[in-house]
Symmetry: D3
Subunit: 312 residues, 6 copies
């Protein structure tokens, strides 16, 4: 028997089969290598490749959820969508269009960003499938500004755009981990004015994973959920390679504890964004993102109504 | 309208006006690019530049204190003082002299070190303005040794020298976060023998920000305060790029929580020291220092007797 | 008087005398520069040198245990054992053989790995001196797999091999900090099936150092103890430069708190493994390992029956 | 007397005075921190800051040209122009507009890019002052493609756009150092079809600085010259931190030899582009760019009709 | 039309189709992610992935040979072969066996090493198809030692093993670029004693690409050629990230000049070995290797007897 | 037989015996870990350790000189001398004093700097043994300034100090590779005014090793020679990790070619200075320095009057 070592033949995320047709898939890894939306440090266009490379360190069985997600689910790696570097609007349209052609109600996408501006075209494509979505948003920043440097698209505006277009259910949405200096007085009220529930970092000390998970579950109820994870919600100690690090963030063990308590939500999609490989010499940030993708996959598997019953 | 992106035109800290004359200033950022005092890893001479570059990631409004410090305060960036690389004594004298020419009672300096030896000339200049000061000292090390490698000046001796010269009020001073191996038995008693209150790291587990802040406030009372922040009080996870890292330190969120509870102290000056940019590939340590400078600025703004009433 | 600066003349760990003959030594630092056993990221062959270089930042007196370990103990740096790069079996035999020639009951070795596969030959040599040992094992991974890539030796199998050969007392052994995805369902039960007590990371939140130390003490009793420390038990924030990082780990301050409560155990040997210097640009992982070696040394010194009574 | 060490007070390029008004200036350093045009590796938005930081290593007198350029010339550092990150067209317009407001015939700008797309707005502003310009273009790539990823603006198209708008004198322009694989057959003829003279890398072995300088001088004659220097014309050994490195390039000593032979040309402006600080751990690429800026300055000083006669 | 940016969807080398069946292929990229054979610095197991990632910077048309190799040739990316980390002998056998199952006379493999020990199993598989091969070997080291650390397999022994097994035609083989200190007197004569022609670095100053190419062509004649390229033949300036760098090597432009003059040889296979991504922060070494793979591909395309006539 | 792998047991340079008594030694490696003299980038205090670590990649036989220097010579590694960090004068005195106690006419020291200021105390100690010395000085900078930042000691002044004290024979001294901008007009004449012969970089194009070696030999004649090698004489491509890089320097192959032609000079000592390990992520600069030390050793061995005749 030939064993394929962890670092070998890693063309896709955890060596999932590569498919551009998602029709038979329950779960799809989709790269969105885009960073034209970044306002400060940049380079997330290389994140999908870096996260795939980091996935070599992952093993297939999740001992907490007691399942191997890619045995429970028919999962594929789509590769990346094309973008239009340097053209924010054209990119948002191109991403949306490509996703619309392949997404379907039975397939949960996990997007590998990209800067956070990619959530907007992702939500356009997902809402076309599921209708408006509940948002569970882990981030140091609210990303609901109406504009960035005077323009509509950027990594600070995706959820403003999504709200304008009715892609989200603000009354079932929640933002977690907000902190850090803001551009203007009142900006801390942007999300609540938009109808979001807000859990700033200040309220997470001491951290109570059970209470936070309960709050999330209460908020989203049985609506279809888009979970958007900006790695800057983590402390820079845990995720140094990101565009706009904010000190004083969460530890990965806190994040894992809350994620694992979200079994049973109606997950419609996920993204993990703002990994900048050029600033990640020990690859810790990419490894963290790869682990999150694995956690999301296990969460999808553990949340299926009749898990184990699907055709092999 | 032209928006200046975060990474642009960053000649000064947060693009503050550059002034060599501090007469009209409430707050001044002053670089002290000196590392001749370092005993192990070295390179803090590049820290003022790195902290200014990292300040591009900061926004202007502080949501906890609910103010934009540089609207409340007339703040400037002085640039750097000149030093005499390789000559500890001459440098201490040159730094003191330059500072004495510009400091005045109405202006709170925030010094960007430099290794920790810069606190000694800073204190000489500040005490000339305010008289002896209460010291609030965050550090893994006590820095009160009588000599370093047989010599009087170095980053291990600034507070010994300052005490000798009567620049500090030991009965109103406190050192926080001390830990790690020591050169000799009894060294753990150096600060208390000097009259300082000491809060070693062992007493900070579990961390209680409120209790620590109360202890600091009690200690310093209404005396003019010099807050000296060596980034090695932080865990190396949070501040890897420093001269003498000590494992087992504070998290940035713990430090922020205690700093924000110090509103109302009579702040006479601050420094943030021991950032080594050459060891900071993801710039996390410089970003942390830049955030601390912003926190200090907000603390000054929030602590002004009649804040908001100053002429614009 | 000439003071030797911290960064100078660092040919050995903390400038201990270099001796290939351990007959008069109470404690020996022994490098095992081997990484042929690594399954993913690699480079631990350079760890002994990097840990020695990082030891320059250490001072000689331990304020918690109130002793200078290398004054209490006759300690030496053996340098490294020879290995056979690329040949796992031959290396295990060569390491065992070299160690057997020098180890003796009065000398506690602290091994600088190397990937974790080095614990197997270390245990073969130690058990020849002490008989079977109690294992106190800090690690994210159980390292008790029966094979790795179809072969018997690797950094995932040392404790399986050691158990097979009767080198361990499973009923007095304990593994701490296990977490992360596993190769196959049931792998989480491998250690307990082998008779080990297991403390997965999930049980360590919130972290209670006293409780954990008590559990360890209860488990090992008065048996001779081998303490094996894989730096990946730490969160990647604290130890980024390791072969198979697992997010959600321990902080160094938590580890220090538990280690310091283990005074009085019958320590027969230690290792610290899986430091990869090429992935450690700020040297934080090597510095952490050097500190752990110092902690182990202090623990040995503090645990001696009649400490202070040995001939100087 | 106070000496300001090389690493101190470096708010501007070589500590030139900072002026937003160029009316009295002979030479101006102008940052264009833009990288939305990059097609592969990215991060040139941080290049102006990195080049200024690297300028600390420069001294003021040029021994080959026997002059101190900033004593001969009234030189200033403008700081940076604002850009619109993520919006190529809007950025090109904004850059053009800001430059048009400050450039004048008596002032030679040296632009610190930015990716190479910045040459297009720079040329729009310069041609408004001088009329169409002769181009001396050092680059591994021709950058005259009609489009990039289907769009008009990017770092592969600036000279196509400039030609379309009549900003260049192709009959007096020359491209030097072209090499590497091309997108399509025939692309190697794009520049010559546009009327440029082309000196591919193949023709530069062995390198003859005198012959190349003569060829450049012959080509440009007495026309106003824009010298555009993409650091990727250098071998990646000399300039590793660039967006699209091409192996087999020039050595810096070859480039210096040819540049120094260009005294007397009518220099209207310069840029140095495609430095990516995040990929420059030893800062060699930024240091190279800073040296080139100094060479350009010396070239301007040495080329002035009546140098030394200007009012001090 | 959708353009796929250079950094996107890079699952394979230059986005070639991924095929595990080579039956219809003229050329195959095959990763051999193995570094158990390394004697000093290590990490080549990650090279195939890093070279594929670096291939994003390549464009498809080769202007010197005037062809797009992957339009002329039916080329695929096989992905990687499995190895047995830590087991040199078992790995050599496993690699040989996997290659034997897929190689055939019509397909030229380009192997992405791996340390140089991989040439031995590659040659075993290639000689099974072609019979003994002429070797064109670019390397700082001869790699014909009879043993390494007392063992038969390692990156210093592949050509000794290959000669023993009759896989090479020493009378038609040539080694280029040898230099640096040697283990023992007489080692400089190992290759010539084995029958190889040797061109040490000393004979390559000044470098004459035409003469060297003629010498190679004369040596190999019309025999099937295996071209093995160890990146350490290059100067460390051009290829810093390699296992055993030797100062004083070739420049990439020199190597390109000689390679391009080898059109018409009967190429049976290539490898590029000893890239260590962990030591390659600006990725220059991986980029160099990717360019060499492209050069080899173009050389195969340009050397086909009736190029252009194959079915599309 | 046990083979010690290259990366193992590297406590000294190439595992030479460690001796603090040089009485029986022909050659001694002596670290001078000092960087208080640096004017810009800093960190050479870690160079001796880094060069020793890099020496693992060296093998023992020199094929050009056809000897194994450490079989011909009784060579030892002294370890490091103590310095006084932060105190230039005290350090110069301490270094001189320590060296004077151990140097003797029969022993050639090879000093591992340190910044270039260490040449001054080295020369004081060497001249006490040999009388005034001929200087062969490879450097981008002349290092004969009368002061640095207004002070007498620094890495820009060692040869001025040495000349003042009559330690050098200027009429037999030569400086090679000078280039780059200078502090003031006329500085290019400092060395010749001091009586040195000067070979600026401009005169080394094209590079003719034979001519340069002849010029050096002619200059020094039969006087005792101190060869001082600042790695910044090399192009930054070859030696990026240095304090004041100057573009346009020599390639290592050029340097090797000239050094190897210096057999027969009366070498009294060597140093290699200005390696900054923190800026050397691929360790290329330290590897280069280690190779130079090996070259110097071979040169000493090859230059002995009756080589081979010494007692074993």
């Amino acid at each position: 028997m030939i064993y394929m070592p962890a670092f070998s033949d890693l063309l896709t995320f955890m060596r999932l089969p590569h498919r551009k047709d998602l029709s038979g898939a329950d779960l799809a890894i989709i790269g969105v290598p885009f960073d034209t939306g970044g306002s400060f440090r940049i380079g997330a266009r290389f994140a999908p490749g870096a996260i795939r490379a980091a996935s070599g360190g992952l093993r297939r069985y999740h001992p907490y959820h007691r399942l191997a997600p890619f045995e429970v689910l028919r999962a594929v790696d789509f590769g990346d969508v094309a973008t239009v570097p340097g053209y924010a609007r054209e990119s948002a349209d191109a991403i949306t269009e490509q996703l619309r052609q392949v997404l379907h109600p039975g397939c949960v996408p996990i997007f590998l960003g990209g800067d956070h501006s990619v959530s907007y075209p992702e939500l356009r494509a997902l809402a076309a499938v599921h209708g408006p979505l509940a948002l569970v948003h882990f981030d140091a920043h609210t990303d609901t500004w109406p504009s960035q440097y005077g323009q509509p698209l950027g990594h600070g505006t995706p959820f403003h755009r999504a709200l304008e277009e009715g892609l989200l259910l603000p009354g079932h949405s929640i933002q977690i981990g907000l902190r850090g200096p803001l551009p203007a007085p009142g900006d801390e009220h942007l999300p609540s004015r938009a109808g979001f529930e807000v859990v700033p970092m200040d309220e997470l000390t001491p951290f109570d994973a059970g209470a936070l998970a309960a709050r999330i579950r209460r908020r989203v109820g049985d609506r279809p959920v888009f979970l958007s994870f900006d790695v800057d919600v983590l402390d820079p100690a845990c995720a140094p390679a990101t565009g706009t690090p904010e000190i004083g963030g969460l530890l990965t063990r806190e994040v894992l504890a809350v994620l694992r308590r979200l079994v049973g939500l109606r997950f419609a999609g996920f993204d993990v964004v703002e990994v900048l490989p050029h600033l990640d010499p020990a690859q810790v940030t990419a490894i963290t993102a790869a682990n999150l993708v694995f956690e999301f996959s296990a969460l999808v598997a553990a949340s299926r109504p009749a898990r184990g019953a699907q055709p092999s």
